[in-house]
């Protein structure tokens, strides 16, 4: 009897592992080549994303959040930035060991990305319909007519009014919000399993931002896509994601389920970040700002990356770098004094 | 130290440009110390030694008056430098001012830039020829004419870059501080044009050599008695079969110098300010 239960439990775990993790980053290290040395920009980044989940990566500029996204997408190839170690397992395959030609088949098909600037990521000389059709036909054997039909469906899906007219528009004829919708349509063209959105609403007004975020969540409900949302805005992350990873200076310093994070912030940086945001709901007279500035990537720092700005720094903070420790189930923090402060 | 660092950044890894710069140094030394380097007076006629082949004591041989070609070439280097620097100054001062003012004061710009457009419609050499026929042959006039010809392109480039710069936020900030027009133009805009200005100067310097040689060759440039490479070519062209060295030496000097200046200019453009690459490509 007991044996049977154990077997079932074991099977369950195996099934969970197989079905749950769509994407696994394991100790990913990224460095940028500068003159004659490699400057590390992302340190031991480990993340996992289950199907139908939304993971938010939050941090300030230069924290490595965008580079992580580009690494997953495979867009670092040929740049100054190199992946130095670690693995990116997507759908059970290690993307870093894959041939570039095979990897390109996944990009835009099983995995798609939307960027911050909807104007520059659309080609200004092609009609938006043609740009959607091009992506579809790159990955699917489908007639031009069929692809056009699909493009119309997609435009409808992203709630562009009068898709029959809009399909013949050029990017400059659309508003910023509509262009971002078109970008989402292109990204969703082949029903990707993973959608990476790098600051998708930063260039948009708040009212449009809300529409675009609602649209992304609505699409996720319908298609079951997993989403990685990268943002500097804790509010956007809080309202959109199930899970959050906070990055600082290339390290994940805290990761947790969203609700857990906002009820028990454990890392001083995460707390400082939240305290830095003036609230729209309550009055603040003074902001508890984090002192100092983010060190540049070529500055050498020993110990915890945050110790020069931290109010709780003790001697050990400047000597050894803290590991990412689980303080609770699903809640990991990179701080020596995670449970105490 | 910063000058050394700049020079290092320009020539590092650019072998051809380094060679060009070295060659220009040789020309500059020859030009400055012409009276010490040249073994003979460039104007001294020795009828007995007419059309001597290269050798000793006439390193590059002699021309049909028996003048020492080497000495004339050395003094020609001096003339090349005068023409080059003179044209650069005229072109940059005139063209730069026109471009700067036209972009900053748009009403004036409408008027001035149309004139520049008309002048630019003429091919450079044709414009220079027309202007030279109106003037007497002299060193100063040649410098002025070549300067004016290249002032047109300089004005265009400065016009474009000033238009961009005057909409920069830091210009608005200067206006908010109460800065006057002249302070904005010369303290805030002009210093941001130094690097393209330098690059433009190097190209004008090179093209001025070609232009001056062409004018000399056509008999419209420097007065015939002046020892310049163009004049040497012009005077000795009929001896091309009997004494080819008379054309070979000045011809090679012109080609090498123009080529070197262009290489240095390219290197400066690429290293100092890659942003302006496209603005200058049209020269």
């Amino acid at each position: 009897m007991q044996c049977g239960t154990a077997l079932i439990l074991g099977l369950k775990t195996i099934l969970q592992v197989c079905s749950v993790a769509l994407l696994e980053l394991d100790n990913l290290n990224i460095a940028v080549a500068s003159k004659d040395k490699l400057l590390p920009v992302v340190h031991d980044c480990s993340l996992s994303l289950a199907e139908h989940e939304t993971l938010g990566i939050v941090g300030e500029s230069g924290c490595g959040k965008s580079l992580t996204a580009l690494a997953i997408m495979g867009l670092l190839e040929g740049s100054q930035v190199k992946i130095t170690s670690g693995s990116i397992v997507f759908d059970g395959q290690n993307l870093l060991e894959m041939k570039p030609s095979r990897r390109r088949l996944i990009m835009g098909d099983r995995m798609a990305m939307i960027f911050q600037e909807p104007m520059t990521s659309l080609n200004p000389v092609y009609r938006i319909g043609d740009q959607i059709i091009e992506v579809i036909r790159q990955h699917r054997r489908i007639s031009n007519q069929g692809a056009k039909q699909r493009a119309l469906e997609l435009l409808e899906l992203v709630k562009i009014p009068q898709p029959e007219d809009r399909i013949n528009s050029f990017p400059h004829q659309l508003s910023g919000g509509q262009r971002q919708r078109v970008m989402i349509a292109i990204a969703m063209a082949c029903d990707p399993a993973l959608l990476i959105a790098d600051e998708p609403t930063t260039a948009l007004d708040v009212t449009v931002q809300k529409e675009v975020l609602d649209l992304m969540l609505d699409l996720q409900q319908r298609t079951g896509t997993s989403i990685i949302l990268i943002s500097h805005d804790l509010g956007v992350i809080a309202e959109t994601c199930n899970e959050v990873a906070v990055m600082y200076r290339g390290r994940i310093i805290e990761k947790a389920r969203t609700r857990q994070l906002f009820s028990h912030m454990a890392h001083p940086y995460t707390r400082g970040l939240l305290a830095s945001i003036p609230s729209v709901v309550t009055d603040t007279d003074w902001l508890e700002a984090i002192p100092g500035r983010v060190p540049t990537i070529d500055e050498q720092l020993s110990g915890c990356a945050f110790h020069p700005r931290c109010a709780h720094t003790k001697t050990s903070c400047s000597q050894t770098e803290p590991p990412l420790i689980e303080v609770q189930e699903h809640h990991a923090v990179r701080c020596h004094f995670a449970g105490e402060i | 130290m910063t000058v050394r660092a700049t020079i290092y950044s320009i020539f590092r890894g650019r072998k051809l440009a380094t060679f060009g710069a070295l060659w220009l140094c040789v020309i500059a030394i020859a030009a400055i110390g012409a009276q010490f380097i040249a073994p003979f007076d460039p104007l001294e006629i020795d009828p007995i030694a007419r059309l001597t082949e290269p050798g000793l004591p006439y390193l590059f041989g002699t021309d049909h008056f028996g003048r020492d070609t080497f000495s004339r070439a050395v003094y020609g280097a001096r003339m090349a430098l005068i023409i080059g620097f003179g044209s650069v100054i005229v072109a940059l001062v005139c063209g730069g001012l026109i471009g700067l003012l036209s972009a900053y004061f748009s009403t004036l710009g409408h008027f001035l830039m149309r004139i520049i457009d008309v002048l630019m419609a003429f091919p450079a050499l044709l414009l220079a020829l027309v202007l030279m026929t109106l003037l007497e042959r002299s060193v100063l006039n040649t410098v002025i004419v070549i300067g004016i010809v290249y002032a047109t392109t300089t004005a265009r480039i400065f016009f474009g870059m000033t238009l961009k710069l005057k909409n920069e936020v830091f210009i608005d900030a200067a206006r908010c501080s109460g800065a006057s027009h002249s302070s904005i133009l010369f303290k805030h805009i002009l210093p941001n044009l130094w690097s393209p200005l330098l690059v433009q100067a190097s190209f004008i310097f090179a093209f001025a050599q070609l232009q001056a040689a062409a004018l000399d060759f056509l008999g419209l440039g420097l007065p015939p008695e002046v020892a310049s490479w163009g004049n040497m070519l012009a005077e000795e062209k009929i001896y091309i079969t009997r004494a080819p060295w008379l054309l070979m030496f000045p011809g090679a000097l012109i080609i090498l110098s123009v080529f070197s200046m262009n290489l240095v200019g390219d290197a400066m453009r690429d290293s100092i300010d890659p942003r302006f690459k496209n603005d200058i490509a049209g020269v």
């Binding site: 300030e60 910023g176 007004d205 708040v206 009212t207 449009v208 931002q209 809300k210 975020l213 500097h232 805005d233 804790l234 509010g235 809080a238 309202e239 959109t240 906002f262 009820s263 028990h264 912030m265 001083p268 707390r271 400082g272 970040l273 939240l274 305290a275 830095s276 945001i277 003036p278 609230s279 729209v280 709901v281 603040t284 003074w286 902001l287 508890e288 700002a289 984090i290 002192p291 500035r293 983010v294 540049t296 109010a311 | 936020v169 830091f170 608005d172 900030a173 200067a174 206006r175 908010c176 501080s177 109460g178 800065a179 006057s180 302070s183 303290k187 805030h188 210093p191 941001n192 130094w194």
Partner: protein, 275 residues
């Protein structure tokens, strides 16, 4: 005299003519700012909020005379600045200063910090000698939280937050009466934004400066202002003191705007991080 507003804007409109895409000759008139009125009392912070293209930036540029073609009145201490020529306006520039959004674009890359900060001092004849200017610059740098030793350096050596502090120093060094801050903290990272907001608020209070704070970020606006004017498509749709705007909005657009903001769950622990 005491209750007279420092700045009173009456029926201000700014129209731009743009070339129509339909034909070469037809021109359409865009009403960037359409008949707006507001006032700012001495020592008061009025925020102008709205989304991109609502005309809020044009208002700021009109009041600093960086943009022309306006009709209406803008009375600064009772004196209408709109009909003034640039030369007539120059003495007033000392009193009406502007903080710009982009700290990377608003400093001349070729000038040292000292040159940048000395310029307004000499223009407005606030100092007579170089030594006096340097003394002033040292004091102001200290006030904005920078070290005096940075004077000889160029803008590219500084981070965004430091540059914005330099921009604020350039404004504060002439002791203005009215500061127009156009998205002054929008380009900064959250943690730096908080520092700079604190700095602006402190300087504003210490010197009793009136401020027109132009922003799209409602959290920042709630933090810094006394009163708020909401702009939509060139018009001011609602003006009220900040509690009324945020806790009891009247206009439908204000309500929509407030509803659209992603809310950060408040967490008490966040406020105690510095303790």
């Amino acid at each position: 005299m005491a209750d007279q507003p420092l700045l009173e804007v009456k029926n201000l409109s700014t129209h731009f003519k743009t070339k129509s895409s339909a034909s070469f000759t037809a021109r359409t008139v865009v009403k960037a700012v359409d008949d707006i009125s507001f006032h700012i009392n001495p020592g008061e912070v009025l925020s102008l909020v709205g989304e991109s293209g609502c005309g809020k930036t044009t208002v700021g540029r009109t009041l600093t005379k960086l943009t022309q073609h306006s009709i209406g009145k803008a009375l600064f201490r009772g004196q209408d600045i709109l009909p003034m020529s640039q030369a007539q306006f120059r003495p007033l520039r000392r009193e009406i200063q502007m903080i710009f959004q982009d700290p990377f674009a608003s400093l001349n890359p070729r000038l040292t910090i000292q040159q940048t900060l000395a310029e307004p001092l000499f223009i407005h004849k606030l100092v007579s000698s170089r030594d006096a200017a340097i003394q002033h610059i040292k004091e102001i740098l200290e006030k904005v939280g920078l070290d005096a030793s940075i004077m000889k350096r160029h803008p590219h050596e500084f981070s965004g937050g430091q540059r914005q502090r330099i921009g604020i120093a350039r404004v504060m060094i002439v002791q203005p009466q009215l500061v127009i801050a156009d998205e002054a903290v929008s380009a900064l990272d959250v943690s730096i934004q908080a520092q700079v907001l604190n700095l602006i608020k402190q300087l504003q209070r210490d010197n009793g400066i009136s401020m027109l704070f132009i922003s799209h970020d409602l959290g920042v606006v709630r933090h810094i202002s006394d009163r708020v004017a909401v702009m939509y498509q060139g018009k001011i749709v609602e003006t009220a003191n900040k509690h009324d705007i945020f806790d009891n909005p009247q206009h439908s657009y204000t309500k929509k705007l407030l509803a659209a903001i992603p809310k950060v769950p408040t967490y008490q622990g966040a406020l105690s991080h510095a303790t």
